[in-house]
Every structure is written in structure tokens, then in C-alpha cells.
């Protein structure tokens, strides 16, 4: 059991990888906690969007075991 963290676009390039697996948290964690655990040396870039299980969430949203947490820059499709 674990939490999957995924990155896209410029954020993926900045970090140099697209995915990190984090161990099951031992206490209640939020999306921003997940970022800090996965990237202890890097403050989350401003404008970063977050999704949990493919739904947009605030950085304060709670994360539970088996969630997929995504971080990405503003979208530019169409």
C-alpha cells in the first residue's frame, strides 16, 4: 500500500521525474504534506494545481492510502 505522486509538463521537467511512490502515511496528511514529503528541498511553485484521484482539490485536502496525488502547472490545451 502506498501513495502515488505524479507530475506533469513543466513540473515534471523541473523535478526530473514523473512519478514517486510514498509509503502509507502513519497519520492524517494533506496534499501539501505529500508535496513536502516527496520534495523536501523544494517549495511548491506558485500556480501549481493539485488533483487527488483525478479530481481538482485544494492543497489542504486530506490524502488517504492508495490515493493518486497529481501536481501540474496551469493547463494550456485547446
Amino acid at each position: 500500500m502506498s501513495i502515488k505522486v505524479v507530475y506533469f509538463a513543466s513540473l515534471k521537467e523541473l523535478l526530473g521525474h514523473s512519478e514517486t511512490l510514498l509509503p502509507t502515511p502513519t497519520s492524517t496528511v494533506s496534499v501539501i504534506d505529500i508535496w513536502q514529503q516527496a520534495n523536501p528541498d523544494l517549495t511548491i511553485p506558485s500556480n501549481t494545481l493539485a488533483a487527488v484521484n483525478m479530481e481538482y482539490v485544494d492543497l489542504s485536502h486530506s490524502v488517504i492510502d492508495n490515493d493518486e496525488v497529481a501536481f501540474f502547472p496551469p493547463v494550456t490545451g485547446g
Binding site: 505524479v6 506533469f8 509538463a9 513543466s10 521537467e13 488533483a51 483525478m54 479530481e55 481538482y56 497529481a70 501540474f72 502547472p73 496551469p74 493547463v75 494550456t76 490545451g77 485547446g78
Partner: protein
């Protein structure tokens, strides 16, 4: 119908094929509103040679599905077709098609624009431009679709 494709597509062929398969539309649709986004060979003063479109698989489809549901709740739509390109694209390639069928034109105009603006702001696609000088850059933000150019 929602389609994400890594292959070049002709929006006019796709619309006609889709429409021919929807037998429930026959005789019922008075209005079709379409928007087609096409790759330009310049952006903010720079020459763009090609572009790569990345997306978040599954979240893309989920978000587009929600947007279509929201449109269906707000307007009387008979059908819709959304196609979005991913991968490497060249100038004059179609990037996105939004097509809406309804009985009356107000619904078709309103819904196609709503879907397009929602797609631009909420659906996880990202564009990276390959410039003439061999530099690459991520497109930082989308323009406002309700403002005059």
C-alpha cells in the same frame, strides 16, 4: 462522444461520420455549432515549428465528461462531439474540435462556447512549443476566450 487522439484528424470528416451514426439526430437538429482550434505557426511574436501536447490520461476524459454533463444540464443539447489531439503536432493541424447539436441555435452557441472555455481552463492538457531557433518552451497560460483580441 469524447476522443483523445495522437493522430492527425480532419474535423470535418469526423463530424460527418459522427452525425451519420447518430440516427436519433435525423430531422431533429436545427442547429450545429462548431469550434475548431488549429495550430498556428507563430505565437506571441515567435515562429513555432511544431508543438507537443501532453495530457493526464483518464483525468482528461473525466474532466471532459463532467464538462459535457454540465452543458447538458444547462442547455437542451441533442448530441456533442469533442476531439482533442495529443503528441507532436505541426502548423495547420487541428488541435481541438467541439461540436454541439441542438434544436435551437441559442443552445448550440452557448453550449459550444461553454465547453470550449471549460476545456481551456480545467482539462489537463499542456503545450510545449518547438521554436525556429531550436529552443523549446512550455506555453505558460491560455488567453481569455471572452476578450477581443
Amino acid at each position: 462522444m469524447i476522443k483523445i487522439t495522437a493522430n492527425a484528424f480532419n474535423p470535418y470528416t469526423e463530424i460527418q461520420q459522427h452525425q451519420a451514426q447518430q440516427s436519433g439526430l435525423q430531422g431533429k437538429f436545427g442547429a450545429t455549432s462548431l469550434f475548431i482550434g488549429t495550430m498556428r505557426d507563430f505565437n506571441e511574436g515567435q515562429t513555432v515549428q511544431s508543438m507537443t501536447l501532453e495530457h493526464y490520461p483518464k483525468m482528461t476524459e473525466n474532466q471532459l465528461g463532467k464538462i459535457v454533463s454540465e452543458a447538458q444540464q444547462q442547455w437542451a443539447l441533442l448530441d456533442s462531439l469533442i476531439i482533442h489531439r495529443i503528441g507532436k503536432v505541426s502548423p495547420d493541424d487541428s488541435l481541438v474540435l467541439v461540436a454541439v447539436w441542438s434544436s435551437h441555435r441559442g443552445d448550440a452557441f452557448d453550449a459550444s462556447r461553454f465547453i470550449m472555455e471549460a476545456l481551456k481552463s480545467r482539462v489537463p492538457f499542456w503545450k510545449k512549443e518547438q521554436l525556429a531557433n531550436n529552443q523549446q518552451q512550455w506555453v505558460a497560460k491560455n488567453t481569455d476566450g471572452y476578450q477581443h483580441s
